[in-house]
C-alpha cells in the first residue's frame, strides 16, 4: 500500500479544516514537505484549497521550490483547468496533476489531458459526499458545490475515457480523523475499478490504517491531519505493516 502525504494549501500555508470547512493554519509547505519526505512518504500531494473557486492555481512556485529537495513523486491539485496549466505544473517539477472541477465541467478535457501528457501524469480527483443511504454525489470547488452527478456513474465515465489514477476523497470524513469512510469504499466496488485508487479522508490513527489495509493493500491512502498533528509517523506505519 502506498502511503501518501497530502498537504492542502491556502495563501502560502498548509491548512486543514474539517469536512473542508473551518480551515486552520498548520505550517510552511516546504518545511512540511521535507519533513514527510524524510518520514518515508511514498508520494506527496499538494492541493491548492481555494484555487478552483478563484480560478487559478497558486502553487507553481511552491512546487518549484520543494522539488529541488524532494525526490519522490509530487502531485499538484486544485484549479488546474487547461493543458497549459498542466504543462506549467509539470515544468515546475510536479510529476502528476490531480483535477476535479475542470474534468466534471468538461470531460473532454480529461481525454485531451491524457492524450497530451500520458495517462500516468493525470489523476482524476473525486470529492464524494453522501446524499442518501446508498448514494454518494460528486462535489466540486473543494467540497463546496454539488453537481447532481453520482460517484459510481462518474467513475465509470472517467474509466471509459481513461486516466492514470483516481484520488477519491470523502468530504464527510475529511479532517475528522475518525477513520476512513469504509461505506464509501464499499459503495464504489474497487474490484470493478481498473486503475489504481488513492483513498483520502478520515485517517486518524494506526487502527484506521489497519482496518483499510486488509481490503486495500494493493492501493494507496492519503493522510493529512493525522500527520500534521503528529498523530502518525509514516515510517512507523510502514514498519508496523511490514511494507
Amino acid at each position: 500500500m502506498r502511503i501518501i502525504s497530502r498537504l492542502d494549501i491556502k495563501n502560502e500555508f498548509v491548512i486543514k479544516g474539517i469536512n473542508f470547512e473551518g480551515l486552520r493554519k498548520i505550517g510552511d509547505p516546504s518545511e512540511l514537505s521535507e519533513k514527510y519526505y524524510k518520514d518515508k512518504a511514498d508520494e506527496l500531494i499538494l492541493y491548492d484549497a481555494v484555487a478552483s473557486l478563484y480560478g487559478r492555481n497558486n502553487l507553481f512556485h511552491i512546487i518549484k521550490k520543494i522539488t529541488k529537495n524532494i525526490f519522490i513523486p509530487v502531485c499538484l491539485g486544485g484549479g488546474i483547468r487547461t493543458l497549459n496549466d498542466i504543462k506549467i505544473a509539470l515544468e515546475s517539477g510536479a510529476d502528476k496533476v490531480a483535477i476535479n472541477t475542470a474534468f466534471v465541467k468538461n470531460p473532454k478535457f480529461l481525454k485531451q489531458a491524457t492524450e497530451n501528457f500520458g495517462v500516468s501524469n493525470i489523476i482524476a480527483s473525486i470529492e464524494a459526499k453522501k446524499v442518501s443511504e446508498n448514494e454518494w454525489e460528486v462535489y466540486i470547488h473543494n467540497g463546496r458545490d454539488k453537481t447532481g452527478l453520482m460517484v459510481n456513474n462518474w467513475i465509470q465515465e472517467i474509466q471509459d475515457i481513461g486516466c492514470g489514477e483516481i484520488l477519491l476523497t470523502s468530504v464527510d470524513s475529511d479532517g475528522t480523523r475518525s477513520g476512513f469512510d469504509l461505506k464509501l469504499l464499499n459503495y464504489i466496488n474497487k474490484n470493478k475499478i481498473s486503475v489504481p485508487i488513492i483513498f483520502s479522508g478520515g485517517c486518524g490513527n494506526f487502527e484506521h490504517i489497519k482496518s483499510i489495509y486488509k481490503v486495500f493493500s494493493d492501493e494507496a491512502i492519503a493522510i493529512a491531519s493525522a500527520l500534521h498533528y503528529n498523530k502518525l509517523k509514516i515510517a512507523d506505519v510502514k514498519k508496523q505493516l511490514n511494507i
Partner: protein, 205 residues
C-alpha cells in the same frame, strides 16, 4: 566532471530528473537549452506514449543526436518509456520501431481481469547474477518507484540487469548493453536510494 544532458523532446515532467542529477552531479543541462552534443552522458526520459515519443524524436534532430551518441560510445540512459525506446519495437498504440539499440520488443504488462494498470508504486528490484555493473549488488532488493503499463522483453538474457515482480508477473526492470542502460523505474523519484543509484551510474563510466 562529466557533462550530462537530458533530451528534452516534448512535454513532460523532466524537471525532477534534472533536479536529481543536479543534486548528485551538478553538471547537467537540458538538450534544447544548449544545442550542442558536448556531453558524456545522455538521459532519455519518458514522455507520453511509445508512438508519440518516437514521432517527436524523429521530427526533430534528436534521432541523429541519439544515434551519434551511441556510436561515439557515449553513455545513453533511458528511463521508463525512455528505456522502451531503446528496443527494436513497441506495441503501444500499434507496432512502432524504436531506436534498435537492444534486441527485443516492448509489450503491455498483462491485460487480464482484475489486473490494474498502470503498475504504480514502490517495488523491489532483483539484480541478476551476471549483471556486469558491480555496484548493482548494493541495490539488490531495494525498492524503487514504478509507473508503467508496458515493459520490455529483451531477446538476450545477457542484456538483463534486474527483474521486478508485479503481482505474479515478473518483468525486466533494468537492462544494460555496453554503453546503453535502460531503467523501467524512476531513480529520480525513488528517494535517497534513487539518487545513490544515479550517482553510481554516473561515476561508473
Amino acid at each position: 566532471m562529466k557533462k550530462i544532458s537530458i533530451l528534452n523532446y516534448g512535454l513532460g515532467n523532466i524537471r525532477s530528473l534534472y533536479n536529481s542529477i543536479n543534486r548528485v552531479s551538478g553538471n547537467v543541462s537540458l538538450y534544447t537549452e544548449k544545442k550542442n552534443d558536448n556531453f558524456d552522458i545522455l538521459f532519455i526520459p519518458g514522455v507520453g506514449s511509445f508512438a508519440k515519443a518516437m514521432q517527436l524524436i524523429k521530427e526533430n534532430e534528436f534521432y541523429s543526436i541519439i544515434k551519434k551518441a551511441k556510436k561515439d560510445e557515449k553513455i545513453v540512459i533511458g528511463i521508463c518509456l525512455g528505456m522502451h525506446l531503446l528496443f527494436q519495437q513497441g506495441t503501444e498504440n500499434g507496432l512502432n520501431n524504436g531506436l534498435d539499440f537492444i534486441d527485443g520488443t516492448v509489450n503491455i504488462l498483462y491485460d487480464g481481469k482484475n489486473f490494474k494498470l498502470p503498475n504504480i508504486g514502490w517495488k523491489k528490484i532483483q539484480v541478476i547474477e551476471n549483471c556486469e555493473l558491480n555496484f548493482m549488488k548494493n541495490f539488490n532488493n531495494k525498492k524503487f518507484y514504478f509507473v508503467h503499463s508496458y515493459a520490455a522483453s529483451p531477446k538476450n538474457i545477457e542484456d538483463i540487469c534486474t527483474k521486478t515482480k508485479y503481482k505474479e508477473i515478473e518483468f525486466v526492470s533494468m537492462v544494460r548493453k555496453k554503453n546503453v542502460i535502460g531503467m523501467q523505474f524512476h531513480p529520480e523519484k525513488s528517494g535517497d536510494i534513487g539518487l545513490d543509484l544515479i550517482k553510481n551510474i554516473i561515476n561508473y563510466f
